[in-house]
Symmetry: C2
Subunit: 309 residues, 2 copies
């Protein structure tokens, strides 16, 4: 299967897709000054500060969430004229499959107010599965959140490339740099680039990794009134408890009057993006995942590939 | 000394002075629906969502930080026409000393991305000292941050009233509601209103409280280049270590290249507002305080009043 992916020629590291997520933006600004840190012998690494206007004003976006502007239909619609829609077309014309300097791999750097630690968000591409299995074998704290392309509706920036993925690090407040998460993200980028270098050289060591993944199955919104105003907060028992089991009947919200609201699902799930600041306006209090074990074989025994239970 | 302050007639509870500090804004929205929670027999309690436009767009401010718009000179300058300057004049014309319904006490509700727990910010008014001593006697976790009127330059919203004070709760990310901090803030408001009620009734129990206060002495900015861009992050050793001692030579910053920068002061200080998101643009990486013990006597023995060492 590795042979299906020819050697990687160009990797794009993106920060500041959301202008108030400073971790990625400042990593990209650092790499602009110190490109040797991400230089590898077998491929080119380039960097991009994706939304400079939003970064300058420390806001997620100016007109529209840039990370929802990459639908193929929108990219082809030249009438769309918000700042982010124009910027999305520019980025696609540079790094998309038909762009001037198409990227084979995109790593998009984000941060979240949720306690998601160091998370890789990817689709089900087998190449990405091997990549994240490698990352988790190097750093067992790396969490893997599987967001099928249908769920993303392919509108995120990494979707302009077959092998796009996203790093989420948290909890980090919007508009804040935290050194620990900055360095964790840098280390994860470094490991990912090493994997791509090994791939190109055909020197990936053989190993089986029992990978734990969290597969996106849906979202839960806050209780709201008829005006759309939220009527409850994340329950303190699950605040910062991303990736921990939520059982039917467990409290998930607390009304302003102090009354607990229980999770009404029928099975145990694993919420992520709990209390992400940017998702209040999107109608998302948390995303719901199923925890799954996957065996990913890398190297010699490549016949047993990623398979969901 | 208590006799110098006549009975409190009107208390104003303010939220949403900064539109992305949701704790206070949602407490005020709740109190608009449930005013009985803050009703007391001897005074009127009113609430104010101070910056509704900023709250609607979940930003700190629209044009200008509202909590820096209350300089007396600015309030008298009718040419100032930014949204927040107009709003400041409206608020002052309602609740200022010469307003339609002047407030005797203002409690302004804020949150911070720094780990400041439950902090009361006040000037050195003896009445406020007795109030915070009472609050700390009820909840020993309450921290007291003394910001002399000169340091504030009297431009904050609470400065339109002699007995204004600010509640800061954190760490809470901008744009996020956290139930624990919401309830802690509500409880602190409740205790403060109880104190004011006791004051009006003359039934404050006699007690001496050895109050710990943190007195503002200055600020430290991030290392920056000639363009004003920051060149280092808060050092992980002091991230979330508000109110803890910082000794000369201790690391305070970490460059993007991983080099520690030491605190160069000559004495031990106690930083607060460490890595507050909104202070990057103000040139403040942290505020520096001195820790002091003060004995505040309340009730019968009122002759020994707040005295700084």
């Amino acid at each position: 299967m590795t042979n299906q992916i020819p050697p990687i020629q160009r990797v794009l590291i993106v920060g500041g897709t959301h202008g108030n997520e400073l971790t990625g933006a400042y990593i990209v600004k650092k790499l602009e000054q110190q490109p040797a840190q991400v230089r590898r012998a077998t491929f080119e690494t380039i960097t991009l500060l994706a939304n400079p206007e939003a970064f300058a004003t420390v806001r997620r976006y100016v007109d529209k969430d840039l990370n929802r502007c990459f639908h193929q239909l929108d990219l082809q619609d030249l009438i769309c004229s918000s700042y982010e829609q124009i910027r999305a077309r520019e980025i696609n014309s540079l790094f998309g499959a038909d762009g001037k300097t198409p990227a084979d791999v995109i790593i998009d750097l984000h941060s979240t107010t949720a306690n998601m630690g160091l998370t890789m968000i990817t689709d089900e591409n087998p190449f990405n599965f091997r990549l994240v299995a490698y990352l988790q074998s190097v750093n067992p704290l790396v969490k893997v959140y599987i967001l099928p392309k249908s769920a993303q509706e392919s509108s995120g920036l990494p979707s302009i490339c077959e092998l796009g993925c996203t790093i989420e690090v948290g909890p980090v407040a919007q508009g804040v740099l935290q050194a620990e998460q900055f360095q964790q993200t840098e280390a994860l980028i470094d490991t990912a680039l090493n994997y791509l270098e090994h791939h190109n050289r055909g020197v990936i060591s053989s190993f089986d990794n029992a990978l734990t993944v969290y597969r996106h199955v849906g979202t839960i919104d806050y209780p709201r009134n008829e005006l759309g105003e939220i009527q409850a907060m994340i329950h303190p028992q699950i605040q910062f408890k991303d990736y921990e089991p939520l059982h039917p009947g467990d409290p998930i919200f607390l009304t302003f009057g102090g009354k607990a609201i229980a999770y009404e699902g029928t099975s145990t799930v694993y919420p992520v993006f709990i209390n992400e600041a940017a998702y209040y306006e999107k109608g998302i209090a948390m995303c719901i995942t199923m925890k799954q074990q996957v065996t990913v074989s890398i190297g010699r025994s490549l016949r047993r590939l990623a398979s969901f239970s």
